[in-house]
């Protein structure tokens, strides 16, 4: 078990180094000059050149890479070209929105998906199953920005229960802040829940056809006990895999929902940084996300071992 995780850690470290090279190279190839973007149409070529020097953009490529990568090692993520503040400060502000939002959405999606999946699997092929899976199909198909707009019109414009968008900050009070994350979390959670419910259902159906389930039933265990205790636990592995992927997506892939609710999240920061060619911000945040995804995968691997004791002994 220990050797297994040491090996995983080494692979993770190598992945990080490779990712840093790819990220840096891609941002280099991308056309566009951050200095010209900042100074606009009326600035002279000399002025642009001068700003490039000031921003350190004229140093040789390898040197710049080493400088940046070296900074990452000592947890120095550099300074944003456009905002001229440390990248880590920007990330900290955005994480305060994106992380709670992702967690709430993930919790909502799990709370909805698992019972629906279990319900459908235990009524496989019957009316309830068809209805639930039809709804899930709809949940996958509906574009989430449209769904988000419908939520806004219903709960903010018509009922005035929550704000239409924006984030007042945690300093405005936990309830006020949570209220502004509620609709976006629902908008994010429903499509995820729909996917998760389908995965849970098919995993469960597969497990329910196993011999040991028949044995458990044969020895007189009630159906509910078999379903929840024996079947569900064994069906968790694909569900956990999907959950891990969804969490990584929810952390930074939510730009559309962030735009519709004008939330200052990570996704929008990256998007904005790309359009403004704020290279350092893009590079450093992508690296942080790579690290986060690797970490999530490690946690998922570890949780496999928790739900499936057989994996614990394996090398």
């Amino acid at each position: 078990m220990t050797a297994y995780f040491v090996k995983r850690l080494i692979i993770a470290a190598l992945t990080l180094v490779l990712a840093s090279m790819v990220v840096f190279a891609v941002m280099e190839i991308l056309p566009g000059d951050p200095a010209r973007l900042m100074l606009g149409l009326n600035a002279s070529a000399d002025q642009v050149e001068q700003l490039r020097n000031q921003m350190g953009l004229n140093a040789p490529l390898v040197l710049r890479y080493l400088h940046w990568a070296g900074g990452l090692l000592s947890l120095d993520f550099g300074r944003s070209y456009t905002y001229s503040v440390p990248v880590i400060d920007l990330v900290r502000e955005r994480i305060a929105v994106s992380l709670p939002l992702a967690l709430i959405a993930l919790a909502l999606s799990t709370i909805i998906a698992i019972p629906v999946g279990v319900f459908s699997a235990s009524r496989q092929g019957r009316a309830g199953d068809t209805l639930a899976m039809g709804a899930a199909q709809l949940g996958v198909a509906v574009p989430n920005f449209w769904f988000a707009l419908m939520l806004i019109y219903l709960f903010a414009v018509w009922l005035h229960l929550v704000p239409a968008g924006g984030f007042p900050g945690w300093s405005a009070g936990i309830w006020t802040a949570l209220k502004s994350l509620l609709l976006p979390a629902v908008a994010l959670a429903l499509p995820q829940a729909a996917i998760l419910a389908r995965v849970a259902r098919s995993a469960l159906i597969e497990v329910l056809n196993e011999d040991y389930i028949r044995t458990a039933r044969a020895k007189g265990l009630p159906y509910r006990a078999v379903l929840w205790r024996h079947a569900l636990r064994n069906a968790m592995i694909p569900v956990l895999t999907i959950l891990g992927l969804q969490f990584a997506f929810l952390l930074a892939g939510t730009i559309i929902i962030e735009n519709v609710f004008y939330l200052p999240g990570l996704g929008r920061l990256i998007f904005q940084a790309i359009t403004q060619r704020d290279l350092i911000v893009v590079e450093s945040i992508v690296m942080l996300l790579v690290a986060a995804v690797i970490l999530i995968n490690l946690i998922v691997d570890f949780s496999y071992a928790v739900v499936d004791p057989r994996l614990r002994g394996r090398q």
């Binding site: 991308l30 056309p31 566009g32 000059d33 951050p34 010209r36 973007l37 900042m38 100074l39 606009g40 149409l41 009326n42 600035a43 002279s44 070529a45 002025q47 001068q50 700003l51 000031q54 456009t82 905002y83 001229s84 503040v85 920007l90 502000e93 955005r94 920005f145 707009l149 806004i152 019109y153 903010a156 414009v157 005035h160 704000p163 239409a164 968008g165 924006g166 984030f167 900050g169 735009n259 519709v260 609710f261 004008y262 939330l263 200052p264 999240g265 929008r268 920061l269 904005q272 359009t275 403004q276 060619r277």
Partner: protein, 493 residues
Amino acid sequence: MKLWKTILAAAVLSFVAATSAFAARTDLTLGIVLEPPHLDPTAGAAAAIGEITYANVFEGLTRIDDNGQVQPGLAESWAVSDDGKVYTFKLHSGVKFHDGSAFSADDVKFSLDRARAKDSLNPQKPLFAHITDVTAVDPATVKVTLDGPQGNFLYDMGQVAAVIVGKGSADGNKDKPIGTGPFKLDHWAKGSEITLVKNPDYWGTPAALDKATFRIVPDAAAAVPALLSGDIQAFANMPAQDALGQLQSDPRFSVVIGSTEGETILSINNKKPPFDKLAVRQALASAIDRSAIIDAASNGLGKPIGSHFSPGDAGYVDLTGVYPHDIAKAKEYLKEAGLENGFSATIKLPPVPYARDGGQVIQSQLKDIGINLQIIPVEWAEWLSQVFTNKDYDLTIVSHVEPNDIDIYSRPGYYFQYDNPKFNDVIKELGATVDKDKRLELLGAAQKILAHDVPAIYLFELPKIGVWDAKLQGMWTNWPIEADDLTKVKWTD
């Protein structure tokens, strides 16, 4: 006893109701689409910087009002020498920066010298190119010497990038803007909102609003529910698109269509064959149907233009009829150029709705005369490096939002690659002319040269679509410069 209680309660209630009716609302939340990268108008070209800070946080020697006229700003008056070379500005006294330091002639000298310095990163550095000397005569008098008469000098000193910054605070303005205006920065929640509060020590007429929040709403679809729910009460320029009709019919909102200085044009690479031939450019101009483009690219709200000049500005000449929409004539021009079978070219479109939507219409209109346009969508960063800097393009659509910028056609190395000595002479003379009538005459001449010589196809003036709460007063109708001047904005009941 019970009756007395009821009467007392009613009296208290009516008193509360009456006072709250008298005390009009003093806070305002405005929506803006793009977040400024920082808040120093002397260090960045992003329009959002000026939108938030101009007249609110920072002030210049002069200021531009909502009709595009020059008004006194930090300078209460000025005198111009007979040769037009020396401007003596008399400054307001008792003016303080937001950090408490006193404003004086030294700050004016510092600001102008900083903007024209060799290592200046001012985005509008050409505005200061003719200044040869700035002298602080006494704390309330500044003398600015130019290398020759400058017809637009007072206007230029009122532009966004010419605001006066404090000697001691200039370097921190990106994050903590310290100006002399009626509002000062309260806080900036990055990615979310920028809040200004009233400056209690303002030297001039105090603002009616106590607090103004600029909230960043990047998505056009989100802008409408934000207004409807009351979370946001004003968009100086709203990405309303299809929802405009809905807002116009809603009595709770005022929808005010104004003009900007944004000449939206189909720019042509004048050195790249076949566009170096006048007949080809004339063919393009005749094949284009402006009204169809205006419908698609600006909901029918843009004003058609025939040259590089805003219809709202003094000296405007209507030249939209120089090349009327005429397919047969366009084909004749192509024949004249020896290209009767048409040709293929590319059009690079930046990520703004007017360009992306307008580009498709232009593509289909040019197909009618045998020109096959390939549309290449580009990001702003790509546009700036490929089109603007490297001139690697055939055609592009862009809105030139700088005010009074007809001179760009005479700038050497500008991305149009247009070089017409006759036009350059007119611009040179214009720059050195102070007499008003003579200036208007020269502006007319410049417009006519461009209209006939078609270094670009002139499409329409970008509209400003203002949408705000009907109870709000004092918002700018037009955008002679991109500024959300809140100094006269107030709530009424």
